[in-house]
């Protein structure tokens, strides 16, 4: 069989210059019989991790490259040959991007020369002149330049090809056939045209020759390419040779998490052990045997997995916050760890709460633990972020990216504009699709469009609909993740290209959090939380006015006043349980113990509500309905929530038991439930879930409730648990006025949904105090707490 590898493939990560996702390109290439494929997006490596992961799954090789825009207006299609080449490409992209405003980055000839080692350059689609070829040879070396040929059935392109063949042969440069791919399948050409119109801020009707001349820039089979280049067979044969030569894949990225510097005579393990021991003695009073055993078990596993450095680096951040007087709390599954509790990362005692350490860190899962830190939003969080930059260097740490993809309204707006709809129709169309679940276009589109006054028999409306659906999930631009930071031992810009963020002083990597997880880059989430600022100031006020020191790690879990307030839905100002929906549910659920609060927070979420789990749970809790489990095998998992699945963890474990999902598959399910990724992926997993369940004899209606997992977004159980505990705790008894005072004080209160006056005056009236507010100098006035 003919072997042909396409080395010049753009994905949708070329941002409006490609119409297919990297995964779709990999899949299509594999279907067509390509043994490898190279991704070459414009000036970035954003799509590389997804492309690599998809190819890996399909058993194909994923070559990495990028088209670099030169300062001379030309562009340079570069392919990575080895690790040095990859590092050079990352550094080249970083250096050109950090210098120029967004979208205007170009590489100078000196930069190209500086980072040329390990890179292979194709001659590209520009006019093949001797001067250009000689310039490429001068920069990259004769061995690393290929005369590129593309055939899309244009007369002028064929003239260029003939010139390239002549020049290549005369300069003894190998010829290389590519197809300059912009989309995977022929149908996507229409989407590409629409995106081109969006890019040029015009409509497809006006775009004219900016649009594609035909639909030939698709992935073609090796056979088709061999036929196309039958007059220059060496150009096709050369692709297999080049593929053999490029031995770099993202598997050997060369990323290393930074080592924590320890004093002489110490190892990271011994240092962590000492810090944990110190902390545990402070936290556990007394330091009882159960805690001691748990900590020992955790430390042993941390040592085994060689994670001491990671814990020490997080501990270092916590110490920085402590020194600087910044309130910080770990959230997420870290709350399951007694070591985290001892190091001051979290404030929940997992031993007392009976939490499972394996949910945080397990040997089998083989992934890095996830510690997220909540910080007061605003300046203080920024200080911590800047501390990380300072400590690990500007090019040693960066924020993770957030890929902004086309969704409902944004897709409707852009596609509608590209198809030349007038502003009024555009408004109606985007309003229509915003309320309409695009996931099932076939079901409802016709009726819904008709209702909105659009005729689906109209060709343009039909095109709109099909392009709108096709545009879903395509990346639109790169944003910045709210708090994820990636830290690296050495230079991060040799691992992934860095870009400047809109906010001055910030640098962003080109990959999002899932990409980082896939490629083993470790991130620490530094998240801003308005409530943290409230808590911080509350603690200050309590200290100043009541002379009492509140330790968040030692708040009582069973203060009856807190539960009474909760049962009465008197929760304004209580984080997570203050919304109208929460307040209407609280008197029915009547929380009596801590776990009830956890359930309360989890139940008012889109998942349980859409999945129709709210009422069964409330009915069962109030004794109106019998507690039955869907299937006997699921009883251990669902017993605590009265047979109703409420938490993501429950769904994952249900999938493992009922549908024989492996740990890895369960992890995939968790990610698919995340907000950002494709619905198609969710459907794929759902099919596997259903067939797995059928294999275990679970059929018919029993399967249905699990479909709700489609809606059950990342519901981080312990995150909520922890935060509620904090706010609930501070809210107890006599500290309530203090908390109210902070909430009503302006900058935090205003950002919250509840009107300030509602809680501030009422809260204060209850205890007979004046509503406090900041004085003109920004200082807190003395609170006159007559009734306390």
């Amino acid at each position: 069989m003919t072997d042909f590898i396409d080395f010049h493939v753009r994905s949708a990560f070329s941002f409006l210059e490609g119409a297919s996702l990297p995964e779709d390109l990999a899949l299509r290439a594999s279907d067509l019989g390509h043994s490898a494929l190279a991704l070459m997006d414009r000036d970035n490596l954003c799509g590389a991790p997804r492309f690599y992961m998809a190819a890996k799954k399909l058993g194909a090789r994923a070559h990495i490259g990028a088209e670099i825009t030169g300062a001379d207006g030309d562009y340079y299609p570069l392919l990575v040959e080895n690790r040095t080449g990859y590092q050079n490409l990352c550094r080249l992209i970083t250096s050109m991007k950090l210098r120029a405003p967004k979208g205007e980055a170009t590489a100078s000839e000196e930069e190209l020369q500086q980072y040329a080692e390990g890179l292979v350059c194709l001659s590209g689609e520009g006019a093949p002149t001797r001067a250009r070829f000689e310039k490429l040879v001068r920069i990259f070396g004769r061995r690393n330049v290929y005369a590129e040929l593309q055939r899309h059935f244009h007369r002028d392109e064929e003239m260029r090809n003939q010139a390239a063949i002549d020049l290549g042969r005369s300069m003894k440069l190998p010829l290389l056939a590519t197809n300059g791919v912009r989309h995977a399948t022929p149908g996507e050409r229409e989407l590409l045209d629409a995106l081109t119109a969006v890019r040029h801020k015009t409509t497809v009707m006006e775009a004219g020759q900016l649009l594609a001349r035909n639909a030939e820039r698709l992935l073609k089979s090796p056979r088709a390419m061999a036929y196309l280049f039958s007059d220059v067979p060496e150009a096709v044969e050369e692709t297999a040779e080049l593929s053999k030569r490029l031995d770099f894949t993202l598997a050997n990225l060369g990323y290393e998490f930074p080592k924590y510097p320890v004093p002489p005579g110490e190892t990271m393990n011994s240092f962590l052990r000492k810090r944990t021991d110190e902390g545990a003695r402070r936290r556990y009073r007394p330091y009882h045997e159960r805690a001691r055993r748990q900590i020992e078990r955790e430390l042993a596993l941390i040592e085994k997995l060689d994670l001491a450095g990671y814990f020490l680096i997080v501990w270092d951040l916590i110490e920085f916050c402590r020194r600087e007087g910044i309130l910080v709390q770990g959230r997420g599954s870290a709350a399951n760890s007694a070591v985290c509790y001892s190091l001051g990362i979290t404030a929940v005692d997992p031993v007392a709460m009976d939490l499972l350490f394996e949910r945080f860190l397990s040997e089998e899962r083989g992934e890095w633990p996830d510690i997220d830190l909540d910080l007061p939003s605003g300046d203080q969080r920024e200080r911590v972020i800047q501390y990380v930059y300072e400590r690990y260097g500007k090019r040693g740490a960066a924020m993770t990216a957030n890929v902004i993809t086309y969704r409902g309204r944004s897709a409707a707006r852009d596609i509608g504009k590209a198809l030349g709809f007038d502003p009024a129709s555009l408004g109606r169309l985007s309003a229509l699709v915003a309320h309409w679940g695009w996931r099932d276009p076939a079901d409802t589109a016709d009726r819904q469009f008709k209702q909105a006054g659009f005729d689906l028999n109209d060709a343009r409306i039909r095109k709109f609909l099909s392009l709108y659906v096709a545009a879903q999930n395509l990346p639109r631009h790169l944003g910045q993740h709210s708090g994820g930071m990636v830290i690296c031992q050495g230079q991060l810009d040799a691992v992934v290209p860095l870009e400047p963020a809109t906010m001055p002083g910030r640098v962003v990597i080109e990959w999002d959090k899932d990409d980082c997880a896939d490629l083993g880059l470790i991130k620490v989430d530094l998240l801003g939380l308005g409530m943290m600022a409230v808590l911080e100031e509350s603690i200050e006020l309590i200290r100043d006015h009541y002379g009492e020191e509140v330790d968040l790690a030692h708040l009582p879990q069973n203060d009856p006043r807190v539960y009474k307030a909760l049962q009465e839905a008197d929760t304004i100002g209580m984080f997570q349980v203050e919304s109208r929906a929460q307040m209407s549910c609280l008197p029915r659920l009547k929380p009596k113990k801590f776990y009830d609060i956890v359930v309360q927070v989890a139940i008012i979420r889109p998942g349980p509500i859409v999945g129709k789990m709210l009422h069964p749970y409330l009915n069962r809790r109030q004794g109106f309905e019998k507690t039955i489990c869907m299937h006997p095998s699921l009883e251990p998992i669902l017993k605590r929530t009265l047979g109703v699945p409420l938490f993501q963890e429950q769904l994952l474990r249900m999938a493992m038991i009922a549908a024989n999902f492996s740990g890895g598959e369960a992890e995939e399910l968790r990610r698919a439930m995340g907000f950002k990724r494709s619905q198609a992926r969710m459907r794929e997993i759902e099919t596997r879930l259903r067939s797995g369940m059928a294999a275990n004899g679970i059929v018919g209606e029993t399967q249905d409730p699990r479909v709700a997992c489609r809606q059950l977004r990342t519901d981080r159980l312990r995150q909520r648990l922890f935060e509620v505990q904090l706010s609930g705790g501070v809210y107890r008894g006599h500290s309530q006025p203090a908390a109210d005072g902070v909430l009503s004080s302006g900058d935090i209160g205003e950002r919250r949904a509840t009107p300030r006056s509602a809680f501030s005056s009422r809260g204060c009236d209850a205890v007979g105090m004046e509503v406090p507010s900041r004085a003109g100098n920004g200082q807190w006035p003395l609170v006159s707490a007559a009734g306390v």
């Binding site: 899309h152 059935f153 244009h154 007369r155 002028d156 064929e158 003239m159 050409r189 229409e190 045209d193 497809v204 009707m205 006006e206 004219g208 020759q209 649009l211 594609a212 001349r213 035909n214 639909a215 030939e216 198809l419 060709a459 343009r460 095109k463």
Partner: protein, 380 residues
């Protein structure tokens, strides 16, 4: 000499010196006067007015706008006095001002010192004009503000005219008078408004002119294209005045036909084929075959309509061709050249074309539409 006053109500003030006053803007008026007159009158009237006296119009304007009180620019001393002003006093021009910043030029003296040739090379004609202005060496006539005049002639005839020649003779006479008046005011015409009895017609001119012959020809073509419905008893002609055309032909600009001739030719064509049937050709921005320039490097002659052909193919590649005008074995062939597009329209296209050479050496382009083949044209 010329004097310029820069103060609110400058025009009224200037008129008290001289009836010949050019109003530059609301606050600036320039006129001809002797230095002695201006000095005397100004001192006794408004002590705070900015007044300048210079040998040229522009130097007087520049000095009055930028120096307080009374400024006398002695002939030959303009450059020295104006030189102290900052370059910002010159009429704004972002590109040239950017260059000033780059070169470190702050005052008019700095600018005036630069060699003229260098300025012309780097800043073009506009730069040279500005430099002369900065040196106070720009000379131009005064353009007095004269109340707007109407350019209108009309007559009522004793007997109706039913032939075109005497009518044109009459209009020619009107034009002769009106154009002479336009010339006296340095103006030209931008449109002719003609009224025959009660029928009105407007002739917009493609460029300002006061060429009587040309205008008369235009009127003639217009009457031929749109003949009069009844004998004419009343004729009225109004010319709408405008600034005359100033054209500097570039050495490297492509030569275009004389606008007057072009307009006359178009007028003739309009009269022949009807106004609605005269269009300007333009290139369509699309790859649609026949709508855009072919990507071939050779000149191409289209057959209108395309010639239907019979084509024998082998493995999808044309081998033999039969048409009304040419036939034979295909000796060489290149293609397919593929275009498709306008997918959002009902008439979307998707076409494969071939370029071929017959045994006699003639080059043709053929294409396929469904099951039928056509010869689109031939390469010259």
């Amino acid at each position: 000499m010329f004097a310029c006053i820069h103060t609110p109500d400058a025009r009224a003030l200037a008129r008290s010196f001289s009836p010949w006053v050019e109003t530059v803007d609301e606050k600036t008026a320039v006129f001809s006067i002797t230095p002695r007159q201006i000095a005397e009158k100004t001192l006794e009237r408004i002590p705070h007015a900015q007044v300048a006296v210079a040998e040229t119009v522009e130097a007087a304007i520049l000095a009055a706008r930028n120096f307080p009180g009374l400024t006398f620019l002695e002939p030959g001393d303009e450059a020295r006095v104006l030189g102290s002003l900052p370059v910002d006093c010159l009429p704004p021009d972002p590109e040239i001002f950017q260059m000033f910043d780059l070169w470190g030029i702050r005052s008019l003296a700095d600018f005036a010192r630069l060699p003229e040739n260098g300025v012309a090379e780097r800043l073009g004609p506009r730069g040279l004009w500005m430099q002369r202005l900065a040196r106070g060496a720009l000379s131009r006539p005064l353009r007095p503000a004269i109340p707007a005049a109407t350019y209108e002639e009309s007559t009522e005839l004793d007997y109706p005219l039913d032939r075109i020649e005497p009518l044109l003779f009459l209009i020619g006479r009107f034009l002769y008078d009106l154009c002479a008046r336009l010339e006296a005011q340095s103006l030209a015409s931008e449109a002719l408004h003609l009224t025959f009895n009660d029928q009105e017609r407007m002739l917009r001119l493609p460029f300002p002119t006061r060429d009587i012959k040309f205008l008369l020809k235009l009127v003639e073509h217009d009457i031929e294209a749109r003949p009069l419905e009844e004998p004419v008893e009343r004729v009225r002609l109004v010319i709408l005045p405008t600034e005359p055309r100033r054209v500097q032909h570039g050495l490297f600009a492509p030569a275009a036909p004389e606008p007057e001739r072009l307009e006359l030719t178009l007028g003739k064509i309009r009269a022949l084929v009807g106004e609605k049937n005269v269009k300007t050709p333009e290139l369509r921005n699309t790859y649609r075959p026949g709508w855009s320039v072919s990507d071939s490097r050779l000149a191409f002659r289209y057959f209108r309509p395309p010639l239907e052909a019979r084509v024998e193919t082998k493995a999808g590649i044309p081998k033999k061709l039969w048409t009304r005008v040419c036939r034979g074995e295909i000796s060489k062939i290149a293609g397919p050249w593929r275009t498709s597009g306008d997918w959002w329209r009902p008439d979307a296209w998707n076409r494969d074309e071939w370029d071929l050479e017959l045994a006699d050496g003639a080059l043709y382009r053929i294409y396929r539409d469904g099951e039928r083949w056509f010869v689109e044209g031939t390469y010259d």
